[in-house]
Symmetry: C2
Subunit: 265 residues, 2 copies
């Protein structure tokens, strides 16, 4: 049989409001598509709807930029109130230049603008910003637990955002929250086609899933924020089963390269 | 209808030898799976089989390391002959440290070890290295032209490798060669759900496809080096159609961030 991976957008997922029950909305969307969940499934959620459900929207009018934000805003040429929010969400600034503000955020993630964006936020004046979830791994774990109760199955959960990258143009999907799967798969122990042990092949498994789901989500106006991934068990199942229990339940923060090993911070 | 992306491994793809006709092998594998190609399909090829077919294997015994390679090999603690090959393939060294050798290669790609690896190379002594294709975009264009003749359809072609990344652990699939599709999709002109123009949303489309295909290829012993991607036209079709002819036929080198805009080289 042909090895196959399928990625399905949950149909007609509603526009999410603060306080919405995403697990309930997910079950309703699955039922519309005549789908039921299994333990081998992965559900990938767009960060935006997690943030919205968790009420992470901030009115820019309510933000008073401090001295550091005012100075930095002149360098990066962005709204000082947005820069103030970025600084509040961050541990330190990694790079700042015209149009570029890369930070290490409170969660340890390194990315532009602390992941804060102003698109798809329901306000005609465009004066709303949407912060990342407070703790995306905890959000993923909560969703996983709720779905397990509602569905009687335990799909893995990924919360995906789109990040820019050094060296390469264009954003790609990355996993900022994970539950129930190994974010990194270590294939070092396995042998290659010719019986040679592979030396270094740790795969950013959850990031590849986030990138794949991003192809289905589209951006903005398309509104396909939840993607069901099917078929992984037959593809990477061996490596997944080989991962010990602790590896299998690591958070997405395991994907962040430790500062001491990072030559590019 | 549920928006859906399917990724299918071409079944029983043989171990590739130097000089092999990959377009012919692809047609045979498609026919075994009862699949025929359409213009909307994308075929993603693992870099390794392109390199093998193009005879890019080098016996390490034939390589004499020069002074620079000997010095650098002490720093990075790798085989000096491998380091010599890396230097020959590169324009400059971006970072060197124990176990780490990041270069800008002759193609402009920034990655570890100039993409040279020693796994999956058929030699019991393990003394063979496999270089990247001379010009992966040209390889993709050639394959696209051959398949168009054989199949009477014009699928897009991606040549994918796995790269490590600054800031994040684990490798992910990236596109090092492209033909017949837009490696970057610019969604900036489009509007989001609330009618706001999106500001900066250039998506690394071909890289996301490479990452998705990597989930299906697996690594090493699994031997699924060619992946057919179906369903993109209904997902990113609008943006793809909006891309002008010239964008649609850019090479994968368009994904490389220009040095002047790169704060992390």
């Amino acid at each position: 049989m042909t090895a196959q991976l399928r990625l399905l957008a949950l149909p007609d997922f509603p526009v999410v409001q603060p306080g919405d029950d995403l697990a309930g909305l997910t079950m309703a969307a699955l039922s519309r598509a005549d789908l039921s969940l299994s333990d081998d499934d992965v559900l990938v959620y767009a960060q935006k709807i997690i943030s919205k459900a968790e009420g992470r929207q901030v009115a820019l009018a309510s933000v008073t930029p401090g001295t550091q934000a005012l100075q930095l805003a002149r360098v990066v040429q962005k709204d000082a109130r947005l820069v103030e929010l970025v600084l509040r969400e961050s541990r330190r600034v990694v790079r700042a230049a015209k149009d570029v503000l890369i930070v290490e955020d409170r969660r340890g993630l390194i990315m532009a603008n602390a992941g804060i964006d102003q698109s798809n936020v329901a306000d005609a004046a465009g004066e709303q910003a949407l912060l990342l979830p407070q703790d995306p791994d905890a959000s993923a774990a909560r969703l996983a637990a709720q779905l397990r109760r509602l569905a009687g199955a335990a799909p893995a959960i990924i919360i995906a955002d789109s990040f820019g990258r050094p060296w390469r143009l264009g954003t790609v999907g990355v996993a900022i929250g994970c539950a129930g799967l190994a974010p990194l798969l270590d294939l070092r122990g396995q042998q290659d086609l010719f019986g040679r042990a592979l030396r270094v092949t740790v795969v950013g498994h959850a990031d590849e899933l986030a990138a794949a789901a991003s192809l289905v989500m589209g951006q903005a106006d398309e509104g396909r924020p939840v993607v069901l991934v099917r078929g992984l068990a037959t593809l990477r199942g061996a490596a997944v089963r080989a991962a010990s229990g602790s590896e299998r339940h690591q958070p997405a923060t395991a994907l962040v390269r430790p500062a001491a090993e990072d030559l590019f911070r």
